[in-house]
């Protein structure tokens, strides 16, 4: 009994704990500062969307948070450990990243490719064991790509490629999943399918998700919280209900918008007030 209570208290502690802490992060490329004084927390199990106009530093921020770029100042902590002191492999055991436009100029089959997600968990000469195979299969099933396993990546459609990349990211058993505009070039049906899959993993497995979003309305529909990035600084960060407002979006994009409610899902929808040249007028 004591054991159970102890365990539960640990768990509840973990739920509230920040899994990512970005502390006074700055990044400069030559003389121009791309990120300045970026500070925020992401809780374990949070689904955070990052919104911002082009050139606001979203991708740079993501790269600093995944360790592929070294920040000029400040530090990122993953689960309390400084990213700069972690080995790549330690980071990879915890974090996986879905790139914006994945390169597919190699001849791996879907099965071989997804299995590469197990790399960080294997020692140098260790072969994939039953657990690795199970995880690989699970990742393909969750993303609805298991039936494609014998196909070459190069023979897949764009939507299928993204799902296969998600499968590889999941085979990595991450605690945090980073998405860089995961759906920007996808058809509408694939966008919804992809976000549904990620959201289900977020809800059922407590996966923390940090996603750069291109489409504000989809962000409002799927994310728990939003980080608004403007000219390299945090403009606002908080739960959707508080941050996703007409004023914030107007200031962020410098555009007049109106907000509606989605008639089926009830989520907020923003639309720009179109310019004078717009053809249909009341």
């Amino acid at each position: 009994m004591i054991f159970i209570v102890g365990r539960m208290s640990v768990m509840s502690f973990e739920e509230n704990e920040a899994i990512i802490e970005v502390n006074d992060l700055g990044f400069s490329y030559g003389p121009s500062a791309i990120l300045k004084n970026v500070t925020f927390l992401v809780e374990a199990g949070e689904f955070l969307g990052i919104l911002g106009p082009n050139g606001s530093g979203k991708t740079t921020l993501l790269r600093c948070m995944t360790g592929t770029l070294k920040p000029s100042c400040g530090e990122v902590f993953l689960d309390g450990r400084g990213l700069s002191s972690m080995k790549r492999r330690e980071v990879a055991k915890m974090v996986s990243v879905l790139p914006q436009e994945p390169a597919t100029d190699f001849g791996f089959t879907v099965q071989e490719f997804v299995a590469m997600g197990r790399l960080p968990h294997l020692e140098r000469f260790e072969k994939e064991g039953p657990y690795d195979q199970k995880k690989t299969k699970w990742a393909m099933e969750v993303t609805n790509t298991y039936h494609l396993r014998g196909r070459l990546i190069t023979s897949l459609s764009g939507g299928e490629v993204q799902r296969v990349f998600l499968a590889k990211a999941l085979a990595q058993e991450p605690r945090i999943l980073f998405l860089d505009e995961p759906i920007a070039h996808m058809d509408m049906n694939y966008q919804v399918e992809m976000l549904d899959t990620v959201k289900r993993l977020n809800q059922e497995h407590g996966l923390t998700v940090v996603a750069i979003m291109h489409e504000a309305n989809l962000a409002a529909a799927y994310c728990d919280s939003l980080l608004l990035l403007s000219e390299g600084t945090v403009f606002d960060k908080g739960p959707i209900e508080r941050v996703f407002t007409v004023e914030n979006i107007e200031k962020l994009y410098g555009l007049d918008v109106i907000m509606l409610r989605h008639p089926v899902n009830g989520t907020g929808l923003v639309f720009p007030v179109y310019g004078e040249t717009c053809s249909a007028r009341p």
Binding site: G67, G107, M116
Partner: protein, 348 residues
């Protein structure tokens, strides 16, 4: 869609091993004096026995053990080294056209080796090993130059790589020509003989000379072959899989340069093997370097032994430079394969 490799993946390795053994024995038996397979095997065993116990062996056994065997081993090592370094270069540069020849590494190695020929022969321990050592230094410098020139950000576009490989290659070759022009005739003869490519007149001392480089280069490649798979996905995706990309890339470049140095210092400049062998095998095995690298070693060795045997018999009693054979056979075969499987295999 059925892939060629679905059919071939399992049987490729055993087939390659059998081919390797058959070619080895046949190659030992062919030449000015012919031997049958049984005689070859007996002679090799007798030679080993004789070495260990200090026994005398017959003149026919001497031909096999002291003349043919080191030459065939050298050819096998050269072929293996070229094919493996080709596979590595294609992987790290994510470029199907990369190979030691195209990358200018061979030219760098030959410049290094040429310098070694120019050196006064007796400088201590270097006297035996200066050729592969300087060939290694040359190939390393060449690949750094080519990579540095071709690099844009963290990518090396195909066109840049080919162009800078060509430029560096021709500059280095020009320097070699210049050196040949000014060097004393005695040295020139030896060098020209060596540069033409081929294994005639090579002995056990040549095998001993390149073995350390071969083993070191090969071990590095085998240790990092899974990391090389991840590098195929791109630098950033490889980082996200926990690979220390710059460290691994450097180690692999050094390894591939060691292997190129081996090949060039034993056989001169031999094109096409490094490019064709990994491609052919990729069609049968897929891009997984854990299978591809060992298969390239064995198949590269087989092809080079066969090419060397051909070089010995085509216009016997004279010998052809082996590079001519590899280019004449390798080129058209590659074109044929490319057309056949263009749609699903012209990629890494």
């Amino acid at each position: 869609m059925r892939l060629l490799r679905d059919k071939w993946q399992v049987i490729t390795m055993p087939v390659l091993l059998v081919l390797f053994l058959i070619t080895g024995v046949l190659s030992l038996g062919t030449g000015a004096v012919e031997f049958n397979a049984g005689e070859v095997v007996r002679a090799v065993i007798a030679g080993l026995n004789g070495q260990m116990r200090g026994l005398e062996i017959t003149p026919r056994e001497t031909i096999i053990f002291y003349i043919r065997l080191p030459r065939v081993i050298l050819a096998a090592m050269t072929g293996a080294a070229l094919a493996a370094s080709g596979a590595v270069y294609q992987g790290i540069f994510r470029n199907p056209m990369a190979d030691p020849y195209v990358m200018g590494t061979s030219a760098g190695a030959s410049l290094g080796a040429t310098c070694a020929f120019m050196l006064p022969i007796n400088i201590g321990f270097l006297s035996l090993g200066s050729v592969p050592l300087l060939a290694f230094a040359g190939s390393l410098v060449a690949v750094m130059l080519v990579y540095g020139l071709a690099k844009v950000g963290d990518r090396t576009p195909v066109l840049n790589l080919l162009l800078s490989g060509m430029i560096v290659s021709s500059i280095l070759s020009a320097i070699v020509s210049l050196m040949m022009f000014v060097m004393p005739t005695g040295v020139l003869h030896g060098l020209a003989f060596w540069l033409m490519g081929g294994f005639s007149g090579r002995g056990w001392s040549n095998v001993a000379m390149i073995t350390p480089y071969f083993i070191l280069g090969l071990s590095i490649v085998l240790v990092f072959s899974r990391d090389l798979n991840a590098l195929l996905l791109g630098d950033e995706p490889a980082m996200h899989l926990g690979i220390e990309v710059s460290k691994v890339t450097k180690a692999l470049i050094v390894a591939a340069s060691l292997l190129t140095a081996c090949a060039v210092s034993s056989g001169g400049i031999i094109g096409f093997v490094g490019l064709v062998i990994p491609h052919v095998l990729r069609m049968c095995l897929g891009p997984d370097n854990r299978r591809l690298v060992p298969a390239s070693l064995i198949f590269g060795a087989t092809v080079m032994m066969a090419a060397d045997a051909l070089a010995r018999i085509v216009i016997a009693p004279q010998e052809l430079p082996v590079g001519i054979i590899t280019a004449l056979c390798g080129g058209p075969f590659f074109v044929y394969l490319l057309r056949q499987y263009k749609t699903d295999s012209y990629q890494l």
